[in-house]
Symmetry: C2
Subunit: 235 residues, 2 copies
DNA sequence: AGCCGCGATATTGTCTACAATCTTAGAACC
DNA sequence: GGTTCTAAGATTGTAGACAATATCGCGGCT
């Protein structure tokens, strides 16, 4: 019953296990394809052929087409006119670019949060900070990575800055693949947790400028780490 | 022969003169619609009905649909599921948000430019700076506004930062309408030109941090001006 | 008179078929 | 043997028709 691996011609590997999804009944093809991409079931640069996707998700080609258009808008797929769509590959250089942009935008968000922090929110951040420290202490990198994302998301939400959130969401979606690269390094986590603590502390102190600086310091450190890792891999 | 004003129900006004374009032969419907929007021929919040657009541009509804999807990706139109598309209206608050985000991203670009400035580029910027000053001196606000845009574009290009350029292009497209609001005020130009001079001087000095600060100062000033103008209009 | 449900209309979402375009393989030719 | 033209195949782009959904006005009920 295995529903057709989607075009293996260009890509080195095909989607991992079975099809990206099957039980899904009748509508959110966009979400299904997006999930498949961010989960890595479609490799970077893999061609996404409308007919194949149509078959795989049992939707019409028109539906798949709109989905691809939307995903292109999110920067997840690349559309070559008359040549088709493929999973957009983010090079390390681009990943660094994304981090550089994030410095400004996440800095802004953190500053906004620090400015308008309520007491409940403060308590929440304090808890988050302690949980992060604990998870690193125990060496639970998966949990730490989860808390990490939670912090990002929460900062974005509480900034109440729709434009910034939007930009960040888009950038984040594109770089999931590289994020993963660092999060699995215990040594990296030890440094990272300190930086995150600094960010949270600055927010708790309701000091916007300090928060911005802390975010910048953190992201610069991530950039550095990414450079190192890839330099080592290149050997 | 007047090719159907596109749905006037929701919008207070209909497209200005005739149709947004007619001679256009056979393909770039997306560009035509985008132009119509940024040129203000379709009012903010105006509904964009696929059938009407299809007739107006003599293209199939499928084509129009693709165009709308793309424009939605650029943030120019809003798509309400099952309810249709309309020209996205940018409120003053959103315009300010956009400017806030631009602080970080344009600051980054300016810094990059300052870092890698060649001598020819330096000469170009110096010329641009002098032209700007001259145009303000002569009270030629149209020319000043043009040079203004030219500066922005050039900084983006020379930053060689694809991600930042992308983000800025998107944000810029959305806020053209508000930009216009300030550019027609002589008093504003007098202040603005000083700030732009500061930016260029920092770039010429090849001082990234100074460039970033100058950009920030400028955009903060724009935000302030925008607040003032709208406060005055609200009276 | 006011509120609720029902039917007509307008508009988008989906599907199938066809046309245009690009890619690839093969044969003819130099 | 290599190169170029040609034709077949694969894939996207466009078109028109149908189905699903929302919007709005009318009539009935309380």
């Amino acid at each position: 019953m295995a529903p057709a691996a989607v075009n293996e011609a260009t890509a080195a590997v095909s989607p991992a296990g079975g099809a990206p999804s099957e039980g899904g009944a009748h509508a959110p093809v966009t979400d299904q394809i997006r999930d498949a991409i961010v989960r890595g079931e479609y490799a970077p640069n893999q061609r996404l052929i409308e007919a194949d996707l149509s078959a795989a998700f049992s939707a019409s080609r028109a539906t798949v087409r709109t989905a691809l258009l939307e995903l292109a808008g999110e920067g997840l797929v690349e559309r070559l006119p008359n040549k088709g769509s493929r999973v957009r590959a983010i090079s390390v250089d681009e990943a660094i670019e994304i981090l550089e942009v994030r410095i400004g935008v996440e800095g802004l968000c953190a500053a906004k949060v620090a400015e308008h922090l309520t007491d409940e929110q403060a308590a929440e951040f304090a808890r988050l900070r302690d949980d992060m420290a604990a998870s690193v202490e125990e060496g639970d990198l998966v949990e730490y990575s989860r808390l990490n994302r939670a912090l990002d998301v929460r900062v974005r939400e509480l900034s109440h800055h729709a434009t910034a959130s939007d930009v960040l969401a888009r950038l984040h979606a594109q770089s999931v693949r590289h994020q993963f690269r660092l999060s699995s390094r215990p040594a990296r986590a030890k440094v990272s947790v300190l930086e995150h603590t600094a960010i949270i502390d600055a927010i708790l102190a309701r000091d916007p400028e300090a928060a911005e600086r802390a975010v910048r310091a953190h992201l610069l450190s991530v950039i550095e780490a990414l450079r190192e890792v890839t330099a080592r891999e290149a050997v």
